[in-house]
């Protein structure tokens, strides 16, 4: 199937549009999370998503409508554990993440075992995205995007030097809360693109790829966005051409971009020396 021909199919157009929006949001949040050494929060929240999807299926509700509030509350839980209970960030992520998986397994067991729906959330299936999911994804992505753009300078300041940001009158607690809430929403959206198991790749890989190019903060955000969107589009295209799983192909494309950027950086540094 050639790509232009494939575009006549609505499900492919839907996948590319929704996937690009979600990838864009992931890539921007990813830069902030990676720089704050909070990369694995995506992984942890994805595990919570597993539990909340199981809960949604058990309650016979749309999984998104259960997952979004549950994951947002969990993201706040991670933040509060880190801030108030003085537990290290990675340990807090581990606690919430394992709780999410444990609850998911229990609920799935109560509902009579795993079913096919749950597995589609584990590994993603962007090509099966429905109209309502596309509109939800675009709507939430645009909302997250606006929150990142409006608070861009606050995020930059708090990410670079939180103490100075506080003395600048920036409410860093509010910015941190905003960041984890936006991450929670984004993680839930991402499960449709690459699945729960591969969520953190969309948050981490575009960001670390962009960091190889040693640009300023704005430049890094732009490169990260481009890498993420191009990875989704090429990933969907290749998966259709080669008849291979879409989510995994998107992640592999992201990794290939990262590997190229990494090599470029090391070769150019050697050239300088």
């Amino acid at each position: 199937m050639d790509m232009l021909g494939a575009l006549q199919y609505e499900f492919i157009r839907r996948a590319i549009i929704a996937g690009s929006f979600i990838a864009l949001v992931c890539s921007l949040l990813g830069v902030l999370l990676v720089l704050r050494r909070y990369s694995l929060i995506g992984d942890g929240l994805a595990h919570v998503t597993f539990g909340s999807v199981a809960l949604g299926l058990f309650l016979k509700q749309h999984p998104l409508s259960v997952a979004i509030p549950v994951v947002m509350v969990s993201s706040l839980g991670i933040l509060k554990l880190t801030q108030k209970a003085k537990i290290y960030g990675d340990a807090a992520i581990g606690i919430v993440s394992s709780l999410g998986i444990a609850l998911g397994v229990l609920i799935a067991s109560l509902s009579g075992g795993f079913n096919i729906d749950l597995f589609s959330f584990l590994f993603g299936n962007i090509l099966s995205i429905t109209d309502i999911e596309v509109y939800t994804s675009i709507g939430l992505s645009v909302a997250v995007l606006f929150m990142i753009i409006f608070f861009y300078n606050e995020h930059l300041s708090a990410t670079f030097d939180e103490e100075f940001a506080r003395v600048s009158g920036i409410d860093t607690e509010r910015i941190n809360t905003l960041l984890v809430l936006l991450t929670g929403i984004t993680v839930v959206l991402t499960m449709k693109v690459v699945g729960i198991m591969l969520t953190s790749s969309l948050l981490i890989l575009p960001a670390v790829t962009a960091l190889q190019f040693a640009q300023g903060f704005k430049g890094t955000m732009v490169i990260s966005s481009c890498v993420a969107v191009v990875s989704v589009i090429t990933g969907i295209s290749l998966s259709l051409l080669l008849n291979i799983p879409t989510g995994a192909t998107i992640v592999l494309m992201n990794f290939i971009f990262f590997a190229c950027a990494f090599l470029y950086r090391h070769i150019s540094q050697k050239g300088l020396h």
């Binding site: 103490e163 600048s168 009158g169 300023g216 903060f217 430049g219």
Partner: protein, 251 residues
């Protein structure tokens, strides 16, 4: 009191059960240049953080520009340089210009955006700290001394009335340190910026500061450098020889 920039009364701070500051009281007047000195672990940085509401105090009161910390919102009147560069992630992708611009946001309302006039302020701060040639370099690629200059530029770019610098010269060579102290003296004299400078180097700061606050978990001395050198209390505290060494270098 009018003209009082910082008022600290009976301040006590603890880290867990360890008392770090005990019954601290002093006032900094507008136009003062105060050196906070004292040995390692004497509570200098803790005092600065308590003044800036970065840590919770056990008891006592702190006022900034006549307002209690709970009511104070005019953070744009303060420029701050934190103690350690260790927070700085060497891979952080921010240019010198971007880092300095962070100092401007305290004055701005939501949404915080830079305007054309801000570029002039950034250029002025870079000129003052002699870092114009590295404006587009990434902060992580600079030497410790250059990074320190960038962070000082970030602290002064907003034209603060009060500048608090916590050990700003640790990464400077002696010549750069001397030049930096001159720059601060000019800010203090020509722009009437009130300065608080935390340092181990009580002898050098004595050349420039109008007042010295010697801290060792409590206030041991607060007054002018000359008074410090002639204080019998300080002679008995340091011993004659140590006091002479500090004050002799001052001469």
């Amino acid at each position: 009191m009018p003209g009082e920039i910082i008022t600290v009364q009976h301040l006590n701070c603890r880290y867990n059960s360890v008392e770090v500051l005990s019954d601290i009281s002093f006032a900094v007047q507008s136009g003062d240049y105060v050196g906070f000195v004292g040995p390692n672990g004497s509570g200098k940085t803790t005092l600065v953080k308590a003044i800036l509401r970065l840590i919770r105090q056990e008891s006592g009161t702190v006022s900034l520009f006549g307002k209690g910390l709970g009511q104070f919102t005019e953070w744009f009147r303060i420029g701050y340089l934190p103690q350690k560069l260790s927070f700085l992630n060497p891979n952080f992708p921010a240019t010198v210009k971007e880092v300095i611009s962070l100092g401007l946001f305290a004055k701005k309302k939501f949404p915080k955006r830079l305007e054309k006039s801000d570029r002039i302020l950034i250029d002025e701060a870079m000129n003052l700290m002699d870092i114009t040639d590295i404006r587009d370099a990434l902060i992580g690629e600079l030497s410790g001394g250059q990074q320190q200059r960038v962070l000082v530029a970030r602290a002064i770019v907003n034209g603060p009335e009060l500048l608090i610098l916590d050990e700003p010269t640790t990464a400077f060579d002696p010549e750069a340190r001397e030049q930096f102290y001159h720059t601060l003296q000019n800010l203090n004299r020509n722009r009437q910026v009130t300065i608080i400078l935390v340092t181990h180097d009580s002898a050098t700061i004595g050349k420039y500061a109008s007042k010295l606050l010697y801290l060792d978990k409590k206030v041991i001395f607060f007054g002018s450098f000359d008074a410090f050198c002639t204080s019998e209390h300080m002679t008995s505290y340091f011993g004659e020889f140590a006091q002479h060494l500090i004050c002799h270098r001052h001469d």
